[in-house]
């Protein structure tokens, strides 16, 4: 596998959200607006790259028996760094994401990549993998965010997109909890359909 593939596989082919169904909680919880989606995605990407880098660096020093606790400490440190710097420099975004910042620790994408990839591969590949997976995660969040904000509020990134009549009585359910689940289910179904047809063509 080339370095480029290490980077790009996370986008679609091994997308952590749509294909592997990992890290679902923040995906559904914070995608009520595109802005929150981007913020969450980038925060998770930072943690992913950081923890993949760190773990790949120290993997030889860690005895196999305590590797999971060690990973958790490394990941939790990066999460706290994100938490503190976001609170200091982007207080509004921090308020919106709230509880889901510390919960990046238990995002299975991050621990999963540490265990499945960074633990076995060299520094450069691990960083690329973390970066690619992080961007794939962000992509999934943004797709969901765009759909839900557009249908539920009628805006994108706060800018008015749909006509006033729609914005005054939008499809509220899209930003409520049920909308998150249903959008996610339909998107996964759509991806399945696409995969089926491309496989059929081959």
């Amino acid at each position: 596998m080339t370095l480029l593939q290490d980077f790009t596989k996370g986008f679609i082919k091994e997308n952590p959200v749509f294909i592997m169904a990992l890290g679902l909680c923040p995906v559904l919880a914070v995608t009520t607006s595109v802005e929150n989606a981007i913020g969450m995605g980038l925060a998770a990407t930072f943690v992913l790259v950081g923890s993949n880098f760190m773990i790949s660096l120290i993997k030889k020093l860690i005895p196999a028996k305590v590797r999971i606790p060690c990973y958790i400490v490394v990941i939790a440190s990066f999460v706290t760094v994100v938490d503190m710097s976001m609170n200091a420099f982007l207080p509004d975004l921090h308020k919106n994401l709230g509880l889901f910042i510390p919960l990046i620790v238990v995002n299975c994408v991050i621990l999963g990549r540490a265990e499945a990839f960074a633990n076995r591969n060299n520094l450069i590949r691990s960083i690329l993998d973390g970066f690619g997976m992080g961007l794939g995660f962000t992509l999934a969040l943004v797709v969901l965010g765009v759909i839900r904000e557009l249908l539920g509020v009628g805006t994108l990134l706060g800018y008015n997109i749909l006509p006033l009549g729609f914005r005054e009585s939008p499809m509220l359910v899209a930003i409520l909890a049920p909308g998150a689940f249903i959008t996610m289910g339909l998107l996964m179904g759509l991806l399945n359909m696409r995969r089926k047809t491309t496989q059929g063509a081959e």
Partner: protein, 233 residues
Amino acid sequence: MMYYLKLAFVLLVIAGLASATLAYLNGKTQPIIEANKKLAELAAREKVLPGASAFERDSLAVEGAQVSDSLEPLRLQDDSGGGMFFYYRAYDKDHNLVGYIFTALGKGYSSTIQTMCGVVFADDGALELNAIEILYQGETPGLGANAVNDKFLGRFNGLSQLLTTSRLYVDKDGGDITSITGATITTRAIVNSIREGMNHLPAPPVSEETPEPIIESAPVEPIAPVVLEEEAA
């Protein structure tokens, strides 16, 4: 045995390094976070009561008060004074009492909403709500979270207390405040908390005398107990 010691040692070193890094970063970011909070608080005060430059903290004992000290709006536990109602007397540059500021706490759909309220004195000596600002809310984005928009906040400008006690209810409860689309609970929480707070505030002083000059950082003198007006049932 040596093996287990090694395991514990590695874990300890990693945890120690992580804690040290975080302690360092915490020292760097904490002042900024505090400063941001202070700035936000000041900006909110300026918005709800423009022109006031000095503030003096005061409190009343109120049974089961759900109103916080507005300087530390995030501390909701009992130690900020269970059953105490905190408010600020606001003075302009010439040390004239121009109004009160208080922070109302109302339990909304998914968070306790903190609303800063600026109260001025109307010509007839009644209390009038000048403007409000949401300091904190964790309501559903797109619904309850719309409470921070000026379109909603503007509905509260210039309500007199006469209106407050009887008409300051959500429209669904028979009042005059139109609730946010799809977020009656949020609106009700805000409206009810403001109404309660307004009811706790002391009546404006009758005399026109200029009060003693106040320096903001001066320690607040113990204040004689303020007699509360009989509340409208």
